[in-house]
Each structure stands twice: as structure tokens, then as C-alpha cells.
């Protein structure tokens, strides 16, 4: 049987015209998810991401309201705009999830991450590491004759930049917390 030729409709307005022209562009979004702090809630969120094949660039979680047993999960994820919408809808469907905020679209926000860097070295490299740490406003939280541990708070980009500079100067280990974020303003 040959494929049927359905007469083209008089409606030129197809749903596909509505598709975001940037639909295939991968975007990074920061989501703040407020959840009831019951056991397994983090597993639900992470299981959603792995089960449906979404990306997690960073994830942080802690109880933020001890009396109300509320935790705040900050997730940095990436995907096309329809996938980001789907991630938010799927998160909203989890029963102990109370609120989902997309900080990337809801207005300006501040994003901060804390990182610890262990840098080992002697001589000029050691002096250069300390000099750069001052410029980046990193604190020395541990030192031996052959090593420093620097503590730094900043945007993920700033931490990346500092790590790049430390690499040739004897960077041994990094510990990063992942992003915590809040919307700006009242």
C-alpha cells in the first residue's frame, strides 16, 4: 500500500512552529528544591536524574529549617530547554518535594561554592602559590613546611580558575562542596 496523502490542512499553525528555535541548545540551570527532610528523599531526587538520564553537574543538600524539617537541595543541571522543563516537572511530582525554583530563569541569583586545595611545593613555587592565593582571597587553613591547604569561596568559575593556576605549582587534591545558590533581593 502506498503511503496515503492526507490533504494538507488549512491550518498553517502547527504545534511544531511553537518549538523554541533554541530547542536544541544545551543550557545550564541551577535549581533550588525544597523538600521535607524525610529519609530517602535525596535518593528519590538522585534516582530521578539517573533513571531518566538527566545530568547532574553539582548537587548540595542540607537541612535549612530544623523545626520544619525542610532541606534545600541545590542542583546544577544541563539540558535543552524542553528537558529542563521536564526535569522541573518531574521533580515537582515527587511527593516530599514542596517547591522547585529555577534560579537561572527566576531572576538574578548568587552562586557560591567552597573549595579546599592542597598544594605541595618548595621555593619559588611555594611563594607563587601563596601570592596567588592572596590575590584570589583564599585563606590558608593548614600549613606545613612543604604544603598549604587553601580555603576559597566563590563561583564555580573562580574555583576552576584558581585550580588551573595551582596545577603547575604542586596541586595535590581538591575538595569542592558543590554550588549553593540564592535569588538576589528580598
Amino acid at each position: 500500500m502506498s503511503p496515503l496523502n492526507i490533504k494538507q490542512g488549512s491550518t498553517s499553525h502547527s504545534a511544531y512552529d511553537l518549538r523554541d528555535p533554541n530547542g536544541e541548545v544545551i543550557e545550564q540551570h541551577t535549581l533550588a528544591v525544597l523538600v521535607a527532610n524525610e529519609s530517602g528523599v535525596l535518593a528519590r531526587v538522585i534516582g530521578l536524574f539517573s533513571g531518566r538520564g538527566y545530568n547532574i553537574d553539582s548537587l548540595t543538600v542540607a537541612e535549612v529549617d530544623h523545626e520544619g524539617h525542610r532541606s534545600r537541595i541545590t542542583i546544577v543541571t544541563r539540558g535543552t530547554p524542553p528537558v529542563i522543563e521536564q526535569i522541573k516537572a518531574q521533580l515537582g511530582r515527587i511527593v516530599p518535594v514542596h517547591e522547585v525554583h529555577d534560579l537561572t530563569v527566576e531572576g538574578p541569583s548568587v552562586q557560591r561554592e567552597l573549595a579546599l586545595f592542597k598544594v605541595a611545593g618548595k621555593g619559588d613555587a611555594r611563594i607563587e602559590a601563596l601570592r596567588l592565593a592572596e590575590i584570589f582571597r583564599a585563606n590558608v587553613v593548614d600549613s606545613t613546611l612543604e604544603s598549604f591547604v587553601f580555603e576559597m569561596t566563590g563561583t564555580p568559575e573562580k574555583i576552576d580558575a584558581f585550580a588551573e593556576l595551582m596545577r603547575p605549582l604542586g596541586l595535590r587534591e581538591i575538595a569542592r562542596t558543590g554550588v549553593a545558590a540564592l535569588a538576589r533581593g528580598a
Binding site: 511553537l18 521535607a36 511530582r93
Partner: protein
């Protein structure tokens, strides 16, 4: 019997009391060490009936059949470890088809959790992705409230299965019982009313549409009988054609003149071409499943689309729509119908008349036609006779999964919602027999028939024992082609007729099997004997295993091959040569 005020009781007693307070009539279950206290509490009361199954998977499917045919949640009670893992297929099935279930599992005592104790399994971990929500209750003081929340979550919003894991020490310990009104459920309150601006846009589109269609799904059934009623009124008043998904059959009567039949992979020619050629698609409680859309890029290319769904994640998930409406189908239909009437009941009459003329041409293709035979029973013929001989009866149909399921959907007509129970989303072979028992126990006087394939039926045939024990006269109408027919059909079309492992070898003698279970067996292989044999099955007061030997190599048509658009449908064997490309073969 309702409990008033606080009252101290054991966790096990709380389970039973909470079930009573939630209006539970029947529990499908299977005991074991970790639920002995609850079984003890059940033993000491007479309000709740316990149906002892033969395998925990059977219990969950029975509860699904019960739930789908009554609109009430189905309740299951199983033990820890293997009891819980055996329930997993049923939970996944219920999640995919949005069936409300409350499943209780026993667990090792709290102080043993994490020690690899006997029959310990991480039940909440295993079932997290296959339940709508689940709870591990570690303190008896919280148990009653969690149970009431569980019933609320299972039945509100998009329904689904929930699970409560109860360690054995929590069942023994004593605490105050919390009656339902005190339970905190306020946080989980899905939106029922649709946005009135969006509904207005939908109505405006309906007023001018030239080629509209109602594309309806299981959401109409889940919304309740009132939603089906509103839908019928809307369809009659507008004169728009209507089709349903597998899960939606019965929301509009098959005898109605606006009915196009089921759509999708094995849907009718007219339903699929209407979907392809429409200019306004009104998706009411369906979810653009891949069995429906075929190739996404070619799905209904010239239509504007409205989608009504209670689950926000269903909107714009697969198909981007012009007007998404978040809300309960019943509420949205009520508002839309009222608005449409208030605005003067407008439709584009001349265009509609043309549309119906086109539809009549498609209908004339007679897509469900098949080559009849007087020597061998064609499966389609068997279902046509079953339909004719049971018409007008108080009838419920369940199915297994395979060709027989699709033929049942094509050839049986459903006049009302909640009369058709089938595994749609998960496609679970072994669903139909236990589901038919669950339906029969909810409707003792109705005629309940499981339209089965021989291979699927064997997967949970142990449940015949349950049917006999509980005098559930559900009829097992097995279309026996001695093949995993649907697999064989795909191998014929996609894998060069290499029939790898798609035979049903060493089948039991179903008549003797029936006798061994203690019920009636009927075998029929001659079309001339079929009517009498079906009547014998219907009249028999008890369960029947009907071995209907049918044509072995019949294919189910129409068929939209995987990866093809709606207008590239196969109507019969002549169409099938080399039609499915390598790309389509990757799809399931």
C-alpha cells in the same frame, strides 16, 4: 466501626484499624515471618476479607483488577524479602497505568536492618522507582498517620501504587492510633481545576475547527464515571469524532456513531488517519505514548493540540502542544462544556460535514477485515462470537499481553468505563488471570472474562487455585495459537521469518489442567462448535478454562510499524514485504 479519639494499640492492629477506617473491604496477600503480627490481627476480626493468593505478583494484579473495575484503591499485604520482590512487577505495572494501590510489606525488625538479616531486602530502595511514593515506618507512633497519607497519595492526583514497609518490631510495639481526619495530608493536593483562560482557548479552537478529534485516554477513566458522562455529552453536542487509547476504552461507548475505534499501533485505519489529518487534536487524559504517536516528527503534522492532564510532567513531555491544561479531566470538561454552551454552542458545521464524509471513506476500507475460514477458528472470529454472545450482559474483560490483547481491543465493544482491564504501559504477560479474579471478587455476579494467550496465561496460572478457593467464576478464554504470537509476528515482519524461540512447546492439556484445579475445561477447535462452547462457558457456574485452538500464523492488523508515521499503516499481509527499515527494527 469508625474509631473515635485516641486509643492505644499495636502496630499490627493499627494496620487493620486504618484499613477499616479507609473503607477497605478486601486485601490480597500472602503471609510470611515478617508480617505474622498483621496476619494475627487480621485473624481476629471479620470486617476485612483476606484473599490468599498463590504468588505475590498475583496479589498485586488482583488488586489492580479490583481497583480499575471499582475506582477504589486495591490493597496488598506481603512479607519481606521475596514477598516484596515478587510484588515489583505488579507495582511497576500499576505505576505505568496509573492504578491506585496501597501495598504493605513486612520488614526485618529495625535493629536488624542493614545486617543482611534473613529475608531482608531494601524494599523501599527497590520499589522507589516503581511506586508513586513509599515509606519505611520506624516508629509505631507514626504508623497510622503514614497509612492514611498513603491512601491519600495513592488516590489523589494521578493515581498510582504506594508502599509501606513495616519492620516487625514496629508491628508489635504499642502506640496511640491516629484516626484519618487527624492525619496531615495537606501538602499533597494536586490541582483539579484547569486554568480558565486555557480552557477558553480550547473552546475557541473547538468553535472554528474544521477537522477536530477527541483523543482520549486512561485519564478519563481515572477521573471517574462523571468524566466519561461529560465527555459523552460533549461529543454528542459538538458532533466531533472520538478515539481512545488502549487505556481509555469504554470512556465513550463503542456503539456511539462518533466512535472511531482505538488508535495507535494496532488501532483502526480511520482513527489513525483522523489523528494524522486533523486540524484540532483534543487530548483528554492521554499521554502521547510511543504506541500512539509513531514517528514523532510526522505525528499529526497539521494540527493544533490541546492537552488536558493532571500530571504536569505529562504536558509537553513527548509532543509540544499549543494549549496545555493542567487539571482533572472531569473538572476541565465540566468548565469547557459550560463555557462552550454559554458561548452559543458553536461548531463549524459545513467543515465538520466534510470531515465526516472523509471519515466515512476511511471507514469503508473496513480495516479490521480478515480472511474467514470454516475449518479453523480465526482469533478475530472467536472474539466476534464472544462479543455477540455476551452483548448486553453485565460484562468485564481482562486480557493478557500479545496479539489476543490487541484483537480483544479491536473486536470487543465497551459501552462503559471500568469494564476493560489490560496491561497497557508495561505490557505484563501474566496480568490478565489474576486481574480477572480481582474484578470478579469486586463484582461477584458479573460475567468476567480474561481474554488470554496461552503463553501469557501460563505465567500466573497458579492463581486458578485462588479463583477456585474464593469461588470467583472468572472465565479464562484462551486464544491458543501455540505461539508467542506477537513475538512471532514481529519476527516475521522484522527478522526474516526466523522464528527464534517463539513457539509454545509442551503445552499442558488445558482441559485436564482445569479438572486438576477443580473447575471446568472446554476445548474447541471447530468454528461450527464455537457458539455452543462459548455458551457453555458463560452458563457454567464457576471458573472455566476455555482452550480455543485458533489459526497459528494469523497476524494482527492494521499495524503501524515502529518508526513509521500514522499514514504508513499496514492493512494486511500483502502490505508487509520489506516495510520496516533497520531504523524501525531498533524500536520496540
Amino acid at each position: 466501626m469508625a474509631n473515635s479519639g485516641t486509643q492505644a494499640m499495636t502496630g499490627a492492629e493499627m494496620v487493620v484499624q486504618a484499613m477499616k477506617d479507609q473503607g477497605v473491604e478486601v486485601v490480597f496477600g500472602y503471609p510470611g515471618g515478617a508480617v505474622l503480627p498483621i496476619y494475627d490481627a487480621l485473624f481476629q476480626q471479620n470486617d476485612i476479607r483476606h484473599v490468599i493468593v498463590r504468588h505475590e505478583q498475583g496479589a498485586v494484579h488482583m488488586a489492580e483488577g479490583y481497583a480499575r473495575s471499582t475506582g477504589k484503591p486495591g490493597v496488598v499485604l506481603v512479607t519481606s524479602g521475596p514477598g516484596a520482590t515478587n510484588a515489583v512487577t505488579g507495582l511497576t505495572d500499576a505505576l505505568m497505568d496509573s492504578i491506585p494501590l496501597v501495598v504493605f510489606t513486612g520488614q526485618v525488625p529495625t535493629f536488624m536492618i542493614g545486617t543482611d538479616g534473613f529475608q531482608e531486602a531494601d524494599t523501599v530502595g527497590i520499589t522507589r522507582p516503581c511506586t508513586k511514593h513509599n515509606w519505611l515506618v520506624k516508629d509505631t507512633a507514626n504508623l497510622a498517620e503514614v497509612i492514611h497519607q498513603a491512601f491519600h497519595v495513592a488516590t489523589h492526583g494521578r493515581p498510582g501504587p504506594v508502599l509501606i514497609d513495616i519492620p516487625k518490631d514496629v508491628q508489635f510495639a504499642t502506640a496511640d492510633y491516629m484516626p484519618p481526619p487527624k492525619a496531615k495530608v495537606s501538602h499533597y493536593q494536586p490541582k483539579l481545576k484547569g486554568d480558565i483562560d486555557a480552557i477558553t482557548r480550547m473552546v475557541e479552537m473547538m468553535e472554528t475547527a474544521e477537522r477536530p478529534v477527541f483523543y482520549t485516554g486512561g485519564g478519563v477513566i481515572n477521573s471517574g464515571p462523571a468524566a466519561s458522562q461529560l465527555l459523552r455529552e460533549f461529543v454528542e453536542a459538538t458532533g466531533f469524532p472520538i478515539t481512545s487509547t488502549l487505556m481509555g476504552l469504554g470512556c465513550y461507548p463503542a456503539s456511539g456513531d462518533k466512535w472511531l475505534g482505538m488508535l495507535g499501533m494496532h488501532g483502526t485505519y480511520e482513527a489513525n488517519l483522523v489523528m494524522h489529518g486533523c486540524d484540532l487534536m483534543l487530548n483528554i487524559g492521554a499521554r502521547f505514548d510511543d504506541r500512539i504517536t509513531g514517528r514523532i516528527a510526522d505525528f499529526s503534522p497539521n494540527s493544533r493540540k490541546v492537552h488536558v492532564d493532571i500530571d504536569p510532567s505529562s504536558l509537553n513531555k513527548v509532543i509540544r502542544v499549543d494549549v496545555p491544561i493542567l487539571g482533572d479531566v472531569g473538572h476541565v470538561l465540566e468548565d469547557a462544556l459550560r463555557l462552550w454552551k454559554a458561548r452559543g454552542r458553536k461548531v463549524n458545521k459545513p467543515a465538520l460535514a466534510k470531515w465526516w464524509k472523509q471519515i466515512a471513506e476511511w471507514r469503508a476500507v473496513n480495516c479490521l477485515d480478515y480472511t474467514p475460514s470454516d475449518t479453523v477458528i480465526k482469533p478475530q472470529y472467536a472474539l466476534q462470537r464472544l462479543e455477540a454472545l455476551t452483548k448486553g450482559m453485565d460484562r468485564y474483560i481482562t486480557t493478557e499481553v500479545g496479539q489476543h490483547q490487541m484483537w480483544a481491543a479491536q473486536f470487543l465493544g465497551f459501552e462503559d468505563p471500568n469494564r476493560w482491564m489490560t496491561s497497557g504501559g508495561l505490557g505484563t504477560m501474566g496480568y490478565g488471570l489474576p486481574a480477572s479474579i480481582g474484578v470478579q471478587l469486586a463484582h461477584p455476579d458479573a460475567l468476567v472474562i480474561n481474554v488470554a494467550g496461552e503463553a501469557s496465561w501460563l505465567m500466573n496460572m497458579q492463581e486458578m487455585g485462588t479463583a477456585i478457593q474464593f469461588r470467583a467464576p472468572a472465565k479464562q478464554f484462551i486464544l491458543n495459537n501455540e505461539r508467542l504470537g506477537m513475538v512471532r509476528q514481529w519476527q516475521q515482519l522484522l527478522h526474516g521469518e526466523r522464528y527464534s524461540q517463539s513457539w509454545s512447546e509442551s503445552l499442558p492439556d488445558f482441559v485436564k489442567l482445569a479438572e486438576a484445579f477443580g473447575c471446568k475445561g472446554i476445548k474447541c477447535s471447530d468454528p461450527k462448535d464455537l457458539d455452543d462452547a462459548i455458551m457453555e462457558m458463560i452458563r457454567y457456574d464457576g471458573p472455566v478454562i476455555f482452550d480455543c485452538l485458533v489459526e497459528k500464523h494469523e497476524n494482527c492488523f492494521p499495524m503501524i510499524p515502529s518508526g513509521k508515521p500514522h499514514n504508513e499503516m499496514l492493512l494486511g499481509n500483502a502490505d508487509t514485504q520489506g516495510v520496516i527499515g533497520a531504523k524501525g527494527a531498533v524500536l520496540v
